[in-house]
Subunit: 243 residues, 2 copies
DNA sequence: CGTTAACTTGATAGCATTCAACTAGCGTGG
DNA sequence: CCACGCTAGTTGAATGCTATCAAGTTAACG
């Protein structure tokens, strides 16, 4: 079975580390509960104490946090294969929320079963620990992005990351990738106002670097986009750095 | 032995989780190499592949990353008990550097010995995994800080975090804490220019919220500072949330 | 079609950066 | 001993990037 319900997760793990066959098999024995989530629905709230971890199967969701004045900051985007609340295994209270951008299909894996597997299987433990560290590496890059980059560069950098991560797990179609993100999502992710984000996007389009519609991102000039974006995929720690 | 060389680390772990006695004893059997580092020295470079993890014993160091135009972003500050490059156990290549602010005393623990202990001791493994997730939680808050907060709030928030983390491991002296940070460090941490950081600090001083000299941070009005800073210590996941 | 959400555009205000100069403290060497 | 250089901190003025406010357009949908 080259494509069962666990394929997104195993693909993701294999893209970022070596995934032994028996580790994949052990994962596939975990109990789970699959679930469909409508666009915009909040999946986990800040303050919740989840009893299971989520694996994204299809679609995109994001972590977010509110700051004073009711402003929102998006902390990360997650695609098929990602474990967006793996940390809840050890940090019992959510310090942020989880919400669906577009429609999402996901599975929930109970903490206790996952914990048992982690404690008994060295390979899986290392794979998942590494995955949680990768998460942190991405946050670090986002700190740089919001802290020290100009608007246009910030936006370009974010889109580069999204595209490379999607390509790594085989979700892209040539230079195109289907994204369910609005400009409001993007502005809350890079820390800009909606209006200014819109103008930054227009600048990227004007420079013929990319195309972004309501449903699809297309890279028009990868080398130049990467350079404008100050993007270096090193922080993603991919197993096969690039193509 | 209430105070041996491992005290900083055990204190830190106990401040953020429960630390069983035999876990503490097992840690104390790890091999190590103690080392003194002069202020400003780079301890680990971006691109390095370290063979050991660092435990801070005394002083303060920080992670940093360069972005285009030679601008620097500081990613985190680390005090006694912290493990600022624990991730190097699983992410082999450093995606950022490690540098001493002030003089630092630290110890290096070889990867192989640490990995053996992690693989054989469940408590320690959970403690350290949790610590690495805590790291990520702090990065998330920094994304919010640089992304969605005004200058004065940003600075106040950073100082709140530094103070609370220092207090949690017993490094503060009443409302005072000895910090070896220059205003340049602070500005690179919050993503502001040196000049504007200086003015933001002056505003905090003018409001009688805190005092900050070359060597010491003193909190003058904690409740009001916390509120100005939009600071909620929840994201630090402390075992005993506050005092 | 009326309604709504997403996107776009223009004008204005304001916060943060940049440039430049100046002060203070500290160590070194003539 | 004082000049000198260096680092860190401070201040002023001008520029400019980004936010805000307001209005208008487009597309999707019941």
């Amino acid at each position: 079975m080259t494509s069962d319900i666990w394929t997104p997760l195993t693909k993701k793990l294999a893209a970022y580390s070596e995934l032994p066959d028996d580790a994949a098999r052990a994962i596939a024995e975990l109990p789970y509960h699959a679930k469909d989530i409508a666009a915009g629905e909040v999946i986990v709230h800040e303050g919740d104490r989840p009893q299971s971890c989520i694996v994204v199967l299809k679609g995109m969701l994001f972590r977010h946090k509110m700051v004073a004045d009711g402003k929102r900051q998006i902390l990360s985007f997650h695609i098929a294969g990602d474990l967006p609340d793996l940390q809840s295994l050890f940090l019992k209270t959510m310090d942020h929320g989880l919400q669906a951008a577009g429609d999402v299909r996901l599975m929930q894996v109970p903490h206790d079963a996952l914990m048992r597997l982690i404690d008994s299987n060295l390979d899986i433990r290392h794979l998942l620990w590494r995955d949680s560290l990768l998460d942190a590496a991405i946050f670090r890059e986002w700190v740089c992005n919001t802290g020290r980059r100009r608007a246009v560069v910030r936006v370009a950098h974010l889109l580069c990351e999204i595209f490379v991560r999607a390509r790594a797990v085989g979700l892209t179609d040539g230079a195109a990738y289907s994204v369910p993100l609005t400009q409001t999502h993007l502005s809350d992710a890079v820390g800009l106002s909606m209006v200014h984000l819109n103008r930054s996007l227009q600048e990227l389009r004007r420079q013929q670097l990319l195309q972004l519609t309501k449903t699809e991102l297309t890279i028009l000039d990868w080398p130049r986009l990467q350079s404008v974006a100050d993007f270096d995929a090193g922080y993603l720690h991919l197993r096969h750095p690039v193509g």
